[in-house]
Assembly symmetry: C2
Homo-oligomer: 215 residues x 2
């Protein structure tokens, strides 16, 4: 399934933390999807009308159905791409070189930075999951479990290496992920803190939670 990963121009890693939705084509489909992200984030999935989405994208209500089967199909695509991106951020940080402390701090910093800077997308991805129908939700939940497992393994590594002191590893992993995800709910671009600052603060807080020795 990862075979048709089109290697754009250079073989170099295209990790665009920036969620440009470049993989969504054609252009009109991408504009609709971005409009949907904004609308879902502002008003919630159920309170958003297909007319609202279409008009944000500068199109007629009917145009939506040329590119997407239903309104829920739009949410599914947003949710899938977003969860894949969030998981990728965690997995990449976990796979890097360094001590468990460095890797966990790096993962939290990147993960939080994404949830802050792309907080509209993250809000839809993390909080509109229940609006997905029964047939699509399991696929997304599977991605979430992999995120959870990635964090749990990093913490376990730190415990084994003697870097962390954690009485309840699964519970702590759950709390760490929950803490990071909730950034998408309260983060405000108009607010005082930049995504970088929140990422740094949260990395420090998480290292404290796992009992890492902070310099």
């Amino acid at each position: 399934m990862s075979a048709e990963r089109q290697a754009d121009n250079e073989g170099v890693e295209r990790v665009t933390d920036d969620m440009s939705w470049a993989e969504v084509t054609p252009d009109a489909a991408r504009r609709l999807l971005i409009a949907a992200v904004e609308a879902f984030a502002e008003r919630g999935y159920h309170a958003t009308t297909t007319r609202d989405i279409a008009s944000r994208a500068g199109m007629s209500p009917a145009a939506l159905y040329i590119h997407y089967r239903t309104k829920e199909d739009l949410l599914l695509r947003i949710s899938r791409i977003g969860h894949e991106k969030a998981l990728e951020i965690l997995v990449e940080a976990a796979a890097r070189e360094g001590t468990a402390t460095e890797r966990l701090a790096d993962a939290v910093r990147s993960f939080v930075r994404w949830h802050a800077s792309r907080h509209l997308t993250a809000r839809v991805v993390q909080y509109e999951l229940d609006s997905l129908g029964e047939e699509h939700r399991p696929e997304i939940i599977a991605l979430r479990r992999r995120s959870d497992a990635t964090v749990r393994e990093m913490i376990n590594d730190g415990v084994k290496a003697g870097e962390f002191d954690v009485p309840d590893v699964p519970g702590t992993a759950l709390a760490v992920l929950s803490l990071c995800i909730d950034v998408a709910r309260w983060f405000n671009t108009e607010g005082r803190r930049t995504p970088d600052e929140v990422g740094a603060l949260y990395a420090d807080l998480v290292l404290r939670m796992v009992g890492a020795r902070v310099p």
Copy 2:
């Protein structure tokens, strides 16, 4: 540590933690409100119909409008009572005797226990805020700010007393509240942990976040 959790045989403490909605009268109004809490928590405010609420309460759709002006009025009352209860829990813990460490741990334990055991109510209270119209939201947001201030003050007290080591007090207070609130999103009655266990785990995690010396 602070295992001196006094039994409440003293008639003073009437905290009820149990959200029985006893203050809502008459009986039919309370049944409707409880039905609305369940429906809003399961499906979200916008996806819930007034017919659904009424039928859960065993009444006709029109009965709702005898006790509530609109569907939004229901959400407002739930939100107001819930936020007042959450704030009360924090304020009471903050006002108790003891060191800053004990008071903060106590506050987190009670607050999290409430968000877990009453997670349906808490989910509506904490996550359906945006569904409130512009004219009612400020009232609720004011309550939230008081919760935030209460936590911030407890942390400040601990820093002044030399019990805590916190570089960024407002940021840490925000993160602590965010962490606790998010319990309402993921907590599941069918899950492995009881509200008491989650409360104890989170109290420990928060003490680590503020750099309290944990025995």
